[in-house]
Symmetry: C2
Subunit: 205 residues, 2 copies
């Protein structure tokens, strides 16, 4: 009997609502993600969600948080995959970050659009975002250990690396990268090139 399953008439409505919202997000985008539709999809009345979320923003926050958790796991998995070639870990982390954004563009946009900005400094959503960032910090630390990134403030260097990957990811999602085709190959190419340029700078001279 796991304590996380808050049983109700159909099981765990809170999670059912998050899943329903996620499904709508991936199929129809954020514009059509309405609280009433989420309730409909979960098979409850439109007022039921208010037993589990204070308002619509709270549900969106929970969905965004789930996105950060997923991204964190994905970056962690990539780090494990390349644990025997640590020189490549930072590059691969960046490429993975961009791949996530392109795979779940609406989820990515939700994570970094407004909800995060509105979240206070100690909101659980911020903590989830910082966990994602921690993966970048780890990748930088590993890179420093194996000498492809110079010594120095790891946190600061990680912020730089994160900004590069995030900028590429966001521009890719907006369709401003690899113009005019914007194909996967184009985006991969410019992403690799950009990350490598930065890595030269981070190596120092």
């Amino acid at each position: 009997m796991p304590k996380t399953t808050t049983t109700y008439h159909h099981g765990d409505l809170r999670n059912a609502l998050i899943q329903a919202g996620l499904s709508i997000l991936q199929t129809d985008g954020e514009a059509t993600l309405t609280l009433r539709k989420v309730a409909r999809e979960a098979g409850v009345s439109h007022a039921a969600p208010y037993r589990h979320f204070a308002d619509k923003t709270a549900l969106l926050s929970a969905i965004a948080q789930q996105g950060f958790d997923l991204l964190t796991a994905q970056l962690q998995a990539a780090a494990t995959d390349f644990s025997d070639t640590p020189q490549r870990i930072l590059l691969e982390t960046g490429l993975n970050y961009i791949q996530f954004a392109r795979q779940y563009p609406d989820h990515f946009r939700l994570m970094f659009g407004g909800v995060l900005r509105a979240a206070g400094p100690d909101a659980p959503l911020r903590a989830a975002a910082e966990q994602t960032f921690a993966q970048v910090v780890n990748a930088v630390a590993t890179s420093q250990a194996c000498g492809i990134v110079k010594a120095g403030d790891t946190h600061q260097l990680a912020t730089t690396a994160w900004s590069m990957a995030h900028g590429l990811a966001d521009l890719a999602v907006e369709g401003m990268l690899g113009q005019p085709t914007n194909s996967t190959a184009d985006v991969e190419q410019i992403a690799r090139f950009s990350l490598q340029q930065l890595l030269v700078g981070l190596l120092g001279r």
Copy 2:
């Protein structure tokens, strides 16, 4: 008699609506930016905007486009200011980009959030965004000419520089930079550091 002034009962409603929308955006944010409110602020009925915009998205696009025009002008002005110290032009362009994002966070978010993604390849909004990008291309070309950026595909190098600045700007707007204070000084510091790291890479060896 300028031909741009399409007179109507009160003057140029199209522009009045854009201005009203802009005002709401800067004071209350995108969440409260409603078509009816814009009409109210412009002093017309809620159906009047449909004589000038196909739907709400079209108005938001026009506002976003105005944002790109403003940003382009700002970057151009910065380039002029530093025309006698061309080695600094790329750094200053990046800092200016970030400053714009922090000064008009909701406008910045609107420009890169959804509206652009929905815009087709030959929408006027995309052209405006590309004009902004052209400023970065110019800065890179200048930097190549004065030898602080290596020779090579200018467009590609500019995309790299744009991604760095854009990532910093977006994370700053979301409050993920210069934690925990997120003060102007913090953001400026990490932005300068990050851009400089990239510049070392772009110089080559």
